[in-house]
């Protein structure tokens, strides 16, 4: 049975799209047929990060309006055979969304795919509600700082109140926490919330911690999700996240500040 997974956070700029791209890629690399949908109509980014922006012809809104069928709109990823992208429209706005329309497209996708990843826009407006409404599971992306945690808390409240599962009273959406842009050194200096702090505030199971890394930015710029970069700590951390999601038990990594040797300390990094 296909699972619908929303990637959401409330706050903007915390790494939803980066996480969606890497998570979907990770699932696909492990043999799952996966589609990742950009719900951020008007501010589409996912296609850029997936490196397929030049191949966008039809988009999600065209499919919703029956102007194109799914086959025409889905873009096959250039790295993984099992991965497809359903891009957002850059020219329409979120009013194109209706619950029935989104439900119909998701139902159609469910027939073909194992995992449907919904990359939510920031905020708690219509686009975000549409992205989470049909979800079976949710990845909550949080930065280790108070405003991001507060917004994630708000989104968790909305998941528990406004989703289809909540309205029908069926099993609640399964929630997973991913802490991104983590800088152990700044946590030690007390400038950043620790993993424990965030977990205590949000009280949902932790799926992984992604360390802050320059490779994320360069990966986004070059349109290759960072999970492909096996040398990058962030890429490895996303790999762990996917493995844990698939049921493997792995210890958390990258929570300690890197100890600098004498030479490094003398000459800088």
């Amino acid at each position: 049975m296909a699972r619908v997974i929303v990637v959401t956070s409330g706050k903007g700029g915390v790494g939803k799209t980066t996480s969606s791209a890497s998570f979907a890629t990770g699932l696909a690399k492990r043999g799952n047929k996966t589609v990742v949908i950009d719900f951020d109509v008007g501010l589409r980014n996912l296609d850029l990060i997936m490196g397929c922006e030049r191949r966008v012809v039809y988009d999600f809104v065209n499919v919703l309006n029956n102007e194109a069928n799914l086959k025409q709109a889905l873009i096959k990823d250039k790295h993984c055979d099992n991965l497809f992208v359903l891009p957002a429209s850059q020219t329409r706005d979120k009013d194109a969304f209706t619950l029935e329309g989104v439900g119909r497209v998701l139902d159609e996708l469910k027939e073909e795919f194992d995992y449907i990843i919904c990359d939510s826009p920031a905020g708690i407006e219509k686009g975000a509600i549409m992205a989470l409404y049909y979800a079976d599971e949710a990845l909550i992306i949080t930065n280790p700082e108070v405003s991001s945690v507060r917004d994630s808390d708000r989104i968790l409240g909305i998941l528990a109140a406004k989703s289809k599962r909540a309205e029908e009273g069926s099993d609640p959406i399964k929630e997973h926490l991913i802490i991104t842009r983590y800088v152990p050194k700044r946590v030690e200096m007390g400038q950043m919330l620790s993993v424990e702090d965030v977990q205590e505030l949000l009280s949902i199971p932790l799926l992984g911690v992604i360390p802050e890394s320059e490779t994320v930015l360069s990966a986004s710029n070059s349109g290759v999700p960072v999970i492909h970069d096996e040398m990058s700590l962030s890429g490895q951390a996303y790999s762990d996240v996917v493995d844990r999601f698939m049921g493997e038990e792995l210890p958390l990594r990258f929570l300690e500040a890197e100890k600098k040797g004498l030479l490094k300390r003398l000459f800088g990094t």
């Binding site: 507060r150 808390d153 708000r154 409240g157 528990a160 109140a161 205590e200 505030l201 949000l202």
Partner: protein
Amino acid sequence: MQTEVTESKKAHQSNDTAVELKGSVFTLPILQIQTTSISDIASELSERLSKALKFFDNAPVVIDLKAISDSTENLDFNSLMQVLSQRHLIPVGVRNGSSQQNSLAISAGLAILKGAFSDRVIEDKKAEVQQTTETNKNPQTSANTEAQTPVRKSKIITTPVRSGQQIYARESDLIIMAPVNHGAEIIADGNIHIYSSMRGRALAGVRGDVDANIFCQSMEAELVAVAGNFRVFEEDMPAEIKSKSVRIHLEGEHLIISEL
């Protein structure tokens, strides 16, 4: 005032907006005057301000005359203002005065503040008192029907109460077995129990039950209130209650927060 404005307009004719009038809301400390004796006020103020360090230096204050508005003795506003300015307070106006006190205040150069808020608080308090007396009466009148009315069920919440969520237990107690996070609000007509961290706002006895209590396992609240008497906590949660198991209840109009 008006003439000044027009004059300054003339002076700055090139610039046609020398002055603009705008509205804004300020939080001001209120000095409640309990006596017409200036010497008593002076000595009391000196004592209080010595403890407040520099916090009130040059602070604007509003003089509340409610307690002495029925007094037949006149308050000497000029002396009062002198006393205040000696202690580095800047009186800006009075409120809740009698009409005579108000006119004396105006001639002493003070404004009359008709804060809607001050009136509302008083009205609210009155309404609450009425409600309490009503609720107090109810059990007596319905004492003989008590056997028929079922035991009032408490509302029990087992999942975290998150930012932006509000839970109200009507005519019952509220029991929460998960964290109440920042920005969440839990409200009950009866008592509130939180068997976890309390980081949001908790309001017990909102329909005026002054006997309502709040219990929580880890006190980190933004605001607590019992029967409309509230206290907010910013960064100033006293160490003896912070993150402790506490009981919050009313004694008179005072919120008592005590470690369990």
